[in-house]
Every structure is written in C-alpha cells, then in structure tokens.
C-alpha cells in the first residue's frame, strides 16, 4: 500500500476508532451474551 493518507482518511479512522471504543465498552458490559452461532 503506497498511497498517501489524506484528511478524509483521518475522519474515517476516527469514526472506526469511535465504533471500536463503543464495542470494547459493550464487551465489558455484556457478560452473558448468547453466542448463537457457535457450532458445538
């Protein structure tokens, strides 16, 4: 990947970062989420 990073890329990264932060917070809140999909 040789392309340069532009200003709008910073916004994209921040948006991704925000979602990630929410997810991490949620993971620590939720202790007993039914993990539906796991094949036994």
């Amino acid at each position: 990947m040789n392309e340069r990073f532009e200003a709008k890329d910073i916004l994209k990264i921040l948006w991704i970062g925000l979602k990630t932060a929410i997810v991490i917070y949620a993971v620590f809140q939720v202790s007993n989420l039914t993990i539906l999909y796991q094949g036994f």
């Binding site: 990947m1 040789n2 392309e3 990073f5 890329d9 994209k12 991704i16 979602k19 990630t20 929410i22 997810v23 949620a26 993971v27 809140q29 939720v30 989420l33 039914t34 993990i35 539906l36 999909y37 796991q38 094949g39 036994f40």
Partner: protein, 403 residues
C-alpha cells in the same frame, strides 16, 4: 482451556496479526497457517482427551481419501460412519434416550458441526479433484478443516474454493499489497461486525430474553400470544445481527489476510417466500445442503418411484433436506420442530409457486411476482413465519407449549 470466541483477546490478536503472516508469499506459508490453526484448536480444547478425539475424527477422512483403494464403493460407508459418529460426538440427547443409552460425552467440540460439512465435501470431491491435478496434501486438508477464520461458525467453504484461493499468487514472492480503499473497507467491515454482535445483538438478546421469560407468567392467552410475538420479533433480529455480524468479522478479517470467504447473508428478511429466504440466510449452508442432500435425494426419487411426478419428488426431497438441516442446528427436540417447520414452509412455498405458475401462465405470473403490493405483503408474511419458527432455535419453546 480458554474460552474461544470473537471477543477473546487471543482471537482478536490473531485476526490482527494473521494478515502480516499470511500476505507474505514463501514456501513455508501453508505450514505457518497450519501451526496457527493447530494452536487455536489446542487452546480451545477443554482437555487432552477432547483434543485427541477431535484429531482422530478429523484425520480419518483424510486417511481414507489418501490411502483407500476402492473409494467409490466404500465412500457411503465412510459417510455413514461420519454422520453416526457426529451424532454421538455432538450429543443428540433425545436420540440417546430413545435408544436408552447413557453415553453422552462430557464435552462439546467447538466447530464440530462445521467440521462435518467440510470433511464430507473433501471426501466426495477429492477423487475428481485428484484427476484435475489437486494434490492430496495433509497440510492443505488440515488448513481447510481447521481454518480459524471459519472454525467458530463457518461460513461453509468448499475444498476446491479454499485450495484455489489459498494457493493463488504463489508464483509471486514477498508481500501481496493491499489498496488503501480495500484496507479501509475491510477494517470497517470487521468493526461493524463487532458492533452488530456486541452492541446491537446484545441489546436485542436482552429484550428477547426478557419477553421470553415473561411468558411463564401470563394473565391470558391473548397476552401470551402478543408477548410471544414480541419475543419472536426481538429474537429474529437478534439472530440476524448476531450471525451476520460474526460473518462480517471473519469475512473482513480473512480478506485482510488475502483470503476470500463466501458471503453468507443477503438481506434475508426481504425474502418473499421461504425458499428465497434460504437463498439469502446462511447461504453457504443452503448451497451445501442443496448439493449434498437435496440433489441426491431428488435425483433418487426422480429416477425411481416418482419418475412422472417431478413436483412431488421436489417437495419430498426439499422437506427431507430442510428437516435434516433443522436438526443439524441443535440437539434437542426444539430443533426437530425447527426442522419440521422449515421443511413445511419450503414445501408450501414450492407448491403454491407451482400452482400459481400453472394457473396464471408465464406472463401473468411474472407480472404478479413483480407487483409492488404483492412483494410487500409476501415479505411481511414470510418474515412473520420465519421469525415465529426461529423461536425454536435457542429457546426451550416445546416445554412451554406442552404445559
């Protein structure tokens, strides 16, 4: 040993680091992938015995394909053994009690139901693939069956697709680059996947459980029915966000590593009938059961007893296929009901479609199918049926009805 799931720190680190390892082309690449896969399954195993049993169960199909001479004749034997041993290892409780056996194993093997599909695909396809020049290689086989990307819950990959994809660009040396746009798209997909699972589906799960628990103490039948519908609503959206979120995580993460995994969802609740639903929900499962259960049974019926009744043969083969698929989802009586209702929904959709085609003729039928009002009404009807039948997966609904 460790609880493995998409939120395990170990798994997250693996997803982050694997692209650096797998995008680099050198002759040790498949061995490195194998080491990672074996490490994951070893850590996830609860005991050494569990690991040993899993290892043997996975190796037997490979040994069969590699060393057995009269494969065409003995294949059915192996397949039957695989299915029977799967039923035992998975612990189909109600079958055991019917047979008065008390042999349930003290553990559940992670990813077992998906191993079964991949093993069957390998066993049935390899004789033909060998003729096309594919090598019967243990590392490739183990990487295919154990791949940590699809270990937890699929999607279900076919061996040929896996082998072609894994070995592509092997004539190149060094790192295979990724474009900036693709990098952003894939990372976004992974993060969105986590969001769907741990934020959205977590909330939906909470409400689904709340309404289901409330069913135990209902003041009237009407109240119970309304509560059940609300529960079904939250549950079906929980299923969608939970499962498609997981698929987003693994498909995105694999894409970052340069591996392609087939899509598993395509806006399923926009389906106008149950048949279309199964072409949009858990797509790789539908394709597998179409190729390995539906087509053989349909062909068998059409070649023999129902040669003149194609629609009847289709209906029977479809019901059987989806009934089996329903049971595969889980080991309790609820899943038997789930299978029954999926089979029923499919058959009703099929017969209705065939009747309509006969009555209206090609032109009018197409017009009917493209009519906006018809589309929206059938979408609502289909979604209602699906969300009600989904309540059999993951919740002990049968005991409730039997009371």
């Amino acid at each position: 040993m460790i609880e493995l799931s998409t939120k395990s720190l170990f798994f997250v680190l693996l997803l982050l680091l694997a692209p650096f390892v797998l995008r680099y082309r050198w002759k040790g690449r498949k061995t490195v992938f194998l080491i990672l896969n074996i490490a994951v399954i070893s850590l996830a195993a609860g005991s050494l015995m569990q690991l040993a049993i899993t290892a043997v169960w996975i190796l037997i199909p490979f040994l069969f394909v590699r060393f057995v001479k009269k494969q065409q004749k003995l294949q059915p034997v192996l397949i039957i053994w695989l299915i029977a041993s799967f039923v035992y290892l998975a612990g189909y409780g109600f079958l055991f009690s019917v047979l008065h056996l008390d042999l349930i194993l003290p553990f559940k093997i992670l990813g077992l139901s998906y191993f079964l599909f991949r093993e069957i695909d390998y066993v049935l396809q390899m004789p033909y693939l060998k003729e096309q020049g594919y090598a019967c290689d243990l590392t490739d086989y183990l990487n295919y069956v154990l791949s940590f990307y699809t270990l937890l819950a699929g999607p279900i990959l076919r061996y040929k697709a896996f082998a072609d994809d894994f070995h592509k660009d092997e004539d190149q040396k060094g790192y295979i680059p990724i474009a900036k746009q693709e990098l952003f798209t894939l990372i976004n997909r992974v993060v969105n996947g986590y969001f769907k699972v741990y934020v959205i589906s977590a909330i939906l799960d909470h409400y689904a459980r709340y309404w289901f628990d409330g069913l135990k103490s209902h003041s009237s039948m009407l109240h119970a029915i309304v509560a059940f519908c609300i529960f079904a609503f939250f549950n079906c959206w929980f299923i969608y966000f939970n499962f498609s979120g997981y698929c987003d995580i693994v498909i995105g993460a694999a894409g970052l590593a340069g591996l392609e995994i087939h899509e598993n969802f395509n806006r399923p609740y926009l389906s106008c009938n149950v048949i279309e639903f199964w072409n949009r929900h858990h797509i790789t499962l539908s394709e597998w059961i179409r190729d390995y259960i539906f087509m053989p049974s349909y062909k068998l019926l059409l070649s023999g007893p129902l040669a003149k009744a194609a629609v009847a043969a289709q209906a029977i083969a479809l019901f059987f296929t989806f009934f089996v698929a329903g049971i595969w989802h889980g080991t309790t009586i609820d899943y038997v009901m789930y299978g029954f209702f999926q089979g029923l929904g499919i058959v009703v959709s099929l017969l209705y479609r065939e009747k309509r085609k006969k009555l209206l003729g090609k032109q009018k039928n197409k017009a009917y199918e493209n009519n906006r009002a018809v589309i929206w009404i059938t979408r609502i009807m289909t979604w209602s049926y699906i969300s009600l039948t989904f309540s059999f997966t993951g919740y002990p609904v049968m005991p409730l009805f039997l009371r």
